[in-house]
Amino acid sequence: MKPVSLFLGCIIPNRYPGIEKATKLVLDGLDIDWADLAGASCCPAPGVFRSFDKVTWLTLAARNIVLSEQMDRDVLTICNGCFGSLTDANHELKHDPAMTKQVNKHLAEVDMKYKGSAEVRHIIEFLSKEIGPEKIHDAVQHPLDLKVALHYGCHLIKPSKERDLGTVENPVFFDELVEALGATSVDYEDKMACCGAGGGVRSALLDKSLEMADAKLQHIAEAGVDCIVNACPFCHLQLDFGQVEIKDKYGHEYSIPVLHYSQLLAIAMGHSPEDVGVDLNFITDDGFIDRLRG
């Protein structure tokens, strides 16, 4: 297993820092060789930047990847947007020498050069492939008897041409990681549906974006779960803060707690819900937090 650098992105360090802390606790607890990726920027966000100017998107993404290349580490992301942007950019650059030349001409202005020597990983596929559900199960100190609505999010698994993660219609690798902690991953209608945040839709067309989230939350509520578990802070924000916005706009109240998998795993490994910021979400539920404590 190649050592990794931890790519934080924007939303985790700047809106849900508990996920950042949880991730670091988990990486330490599983003896994974990781380091901060000092000086990284926005990935940049694929929905807007990739839509605006391809060369700019690739150049900023390449700078982030080069920082990790310089440390001889793969890039570990904890956000589907960052994973999507950096994976797709890395793939484009590795397969398009003319584009790489153009990007490197820009990078030379800041004394950098993209080589293509680092891979981009996402914590969920990384834990699934490099550690595996059995070893994750062995690391559990405090099994979590919870009914969970799992949300993969889109860019963890799609576009599949640039991932090696099997089916996009009915994947199971994330469910296995959740069930390794003692929880049950409950099926619900349209489980693989988008949360509605991506592609610049949430940032510019909030009402439409929330209609998609409302439908998703409705299906999750019908399944009768204890919480939602996700792999992405933008989905996390949409499903957590989105519940506040949806209540204001449509009067639909769900009150379903939302956790990133890093948080759930850290709690199962013995850390308290407050240690990893579960109480800093917009939707909080003291009864649920007590249950997490065991």
């Binding site: 990284a40 920027s41 799609k158 592609g199």
Partner: protein, 169 residues
């Protein structure tokens, strides 16, 4: 000079011309259930004329890639939509909120920068007030700013602002 959509897509190694209008894309689209986005029509329109660049539905795609995964002809629909959006932006069409997000990255290096409330949350968790990103390293932010200048991105965003203000007068 604005390119014909068919030519633009060809230059990106993409084509919509093999589409048989089966509608699998529209049937698979999570956005289309709640918005006026009809992916099949975008694909059809992009084969015919430049009006597609002005179609606001281009911006209702969440880029979930479900249509692209399921397309029986293997058309890279989302990659194509992103290419069409890019041309549209270079024509000066950018949603106001997207311009703001672009401006945040130009200024701060983050699309979602830190604020006081979240500095407090970080401290409450026993973490440094600022993360190990461009927020903590000014020289790293300078690199990002330099790159956004040399790629022409700053100009792209600012020029369009100028056009917009002229329209408003």
């Amino acid at each position: 000079m604005t390119k014909e959509p068919v030519k633009l897509l060809e230059d990106e190694g993409l084509t919509f011309l093999t589409c048989m209008q089966c509608g699998t894309c529209t049937g698979s689209c999570p956005s289309g259930r709640y918005t006026s986005l009809n992916t099949r029509r975008i694909v059809l329109s992009a084969r015919r004329n430049k009006d597609v660049y002005h179609d606001e539905n281009l911006w209702m795609c969440t880029t979930c890639y479900q249509c692209q995964e399921r397309c029986p002809r293997g058309i890279k629909i989302v990659d194509g939509i992103l290419a069409l959006r890019t041309e549209s932006v270079h024509m000066g069409l950018m949603l106001p909120d997207h311009r703001k997000v672009a401006g945040l990255v130009v200024d701060k290096g983050h699309a979602v920068p830190i604020n006081d409330a979240n500095k407090e949350k970080r401290k409450e968790l026993g973490m440094d007030e600022l993360p190990e990103t461009v927020h903590k390293y000014p020289e790293a932010l300078d690199q990002v700013k330099k790159l956004l200048e040399v790629t022409g991105f700053v100009q792209l965003v600012l020029e369009e602002e100028k056009d917009k203000s002229e329209e408003g007068q």
